[in-house]
């Protein structure tokens, strides 16, 4: 079976209806196992105490916030090059999910930051980048909502996604540059590699898998909804014409 069979809306509906329960179920299982493991069966960090456990929500959400945009970028390119409607609708479906993950990452970060750094918010490069990412998501979603014609909206949002990606990367480096002279760097760094030990690492991996599957399930579900909405609109059009 070729991957492009997904591009046919009818085949997509069939395949996704069979896949969806499995993906959703597996995601739920991973999240339940990972979160319970992480929250109750890992030791407390010697410096951070129990607050460290928020990483089981924070890190996967932050990871998926970026990956959702990457997925939208790929889907937009597929739409521009191969004109598969399912691809455009999948990009549209992913945007609110990505925005939600971004907001979760920001809020859990603030909750974590309060006891650790004594402040809800600092203009740390990484925090700032996520705030900007949230703005990009909002613009993208607003563009979809503003244009009535489906194909026009898909084209315009794809162009926006491409240009937005370039500027998002640019903003990331600009923010790194901007911050250096003003704030302290490393003590506020969110870099996990240096302080995550194995006991935290395994449940974290399970949680990340759960978030990936949750993203997949939500995008499949939302894409199905978008396809049905598009189909409904077309049927109404046909009725009006006949």
């Amino acid at each position: 079976m070729s991957f492009w069979e997904f591009a046919n809306p009818k085949r997509f509906m069939q395949l996704s209806s069979r896949l969806l329960p499995w993906v959703a179920g597996l995601s739920l299982a991973c999240l339940v196992v990972g979160l319970i493991w992480g929250f109750f069966f890992t030791p407390e960090d010697y410096r951070q105490g129990s607050t460290v456990k928020i990483i089981y929500l924070h890190v996967p959400a932050a990871l998926m916030a970026i990956n959702a945009w990457l997925m939208m970028l790929v889907a937009s390119l597929v739409w521009i090059i191969r004109r598969h409607h399912v691809s455009a609708l999948a990009a549209r479906a992913a945007a609110p999910v990505g925005l939600t993950f971004t907001v979760i990452a920001l809020i859990t970060g603030a909750i974590w930051g309060q006891p650790m750094w004594g402040t809800w918010w600092a203009w740390d490069p990484r925090l700032t980048s996520f705030l900007i990412l949230a703005l990009f998501y909002m613009g993208y979603i607003a563009m979809w909502e503003a244009v009535e014609n489906g194909d026009t909206a898909a084209d315009l949002t794809s162009v926006l996604c491409l240009v937005g990606s370039v500027f998002a990367i640019l903003s990331r480096y600009a923010v790194l540059f901007w911050n250096q002279g003003l704030h302290q760097g490393a003590s506020l760094s969110l870099d996990k590699e240096e302080n995550v030990a194995d006991v935290f690492y395994l449940p974290l991996l399970v949680c990340i898998a759960g978030f990936v599957l949750m993203f997949l399930a939500l995008v499949l579900l939302r894409t199905r909804t978008e396809i049905r909405a598009r189909r409904l609109k077309a049927l109404l059009n046909r009725e009006r014409m006949a």
């Binding site: 046919n8 809306p9 009818k10 004109r83 409607h85 009535e148 014609n149 489906g150 194909d151 598009r230 189909r231 077309a234 059009n237 046909r238 014409m241 006949a242």
Partner: protein
């Protein structure tokens, strides 16, 4: 000059006309007829290259078309002569005097377009066609807000343009007294077709 075969055009993603065939030779003036909403504007925009056809072939050498739509493309704060000179420069043409004469705009040259009446404005919009130097005129409802004398003026300029080897294709409900061809679009109405681009076909 222009050859159209089996063209299907869509408005807002919904096909309105399908299987349209038409030919236009030098010296011909073709009038498109059909009830409101049949897709005359959409067809003209497609022929002018502003939107792609859903299917079918449009054969025409590039850079032949001068298009004029419902709006005149006239800037209110520019004078008549400034408006025309701008378009003449954009199309790389020089002389605007014949266009001013043909549409009786000579007495108005220094007037700002916002002080023109609707009919005078329309005449300015049509005079723009002459300064493009393009052989195929595509006109969408060109006679709106023109009085009888102006309609005659317009018909004469179309005739002169065709006689000089040009061609015109227009959507209009008024009989211009041109001995041109008439194409009724009603038989080409697209019925029961779904949206453009194969999304719906995939469900059938």
């Amino acid at each position: 000059m222009l050859s159209v075969r089996g063209v299907c055009v869509a408005r807002g993603g919904v096909p309105v006309l399908e299987g349209v065939d038409l030919d236009l030779e030098a010296g011909q003036a073709l009038v498109l007829r059909g009830p409101n909403g049949i897709g005359k504007t959409t067809l003209l925009r497609t022929l002018a290259g502003l939107q792609p056809p859903v299917e079918g072939q449009i054969e025409m050498a590039p850079d032949l078309v001068a298009y004029t739509g419902h709006s005149d493309g006239v800037k209110a704060t520019l004078t008549v002569v400034e408006n025309l000179e701008f378009w003449a420069r954009v199309f790389g043409q020089g002389d605007i005097a014949p266009a001013l004469a043909a549409f009786d705009l000579e007495g108005l040259v220094e007037r700002q377009a916002q002080n023109l009446s609707a009919g005078q404005r329309r005449r300015l919009g049509l005079a723009r066609l002459m300064v493009t130097g393009r052989p195929i005129w595509m006109l969408d409802e060109p006679t709106v807000s023109l009085d009888a004398a102006s309609v005659k003026m317009f018909a004469a300029s179309v005739q002169a343009h065709c006689a000089a080897g040009g061609a015109a294709i227009m959507a209009t409900h008024i009989d211009l007294g041109l001995d041109g061809l008439v194409l009724d679009l009603s038989p080409y109405r697209a019925i029961g077709r779904m949206s453009a681009g194969g999304f719906e076909e995939a469900f059938e």
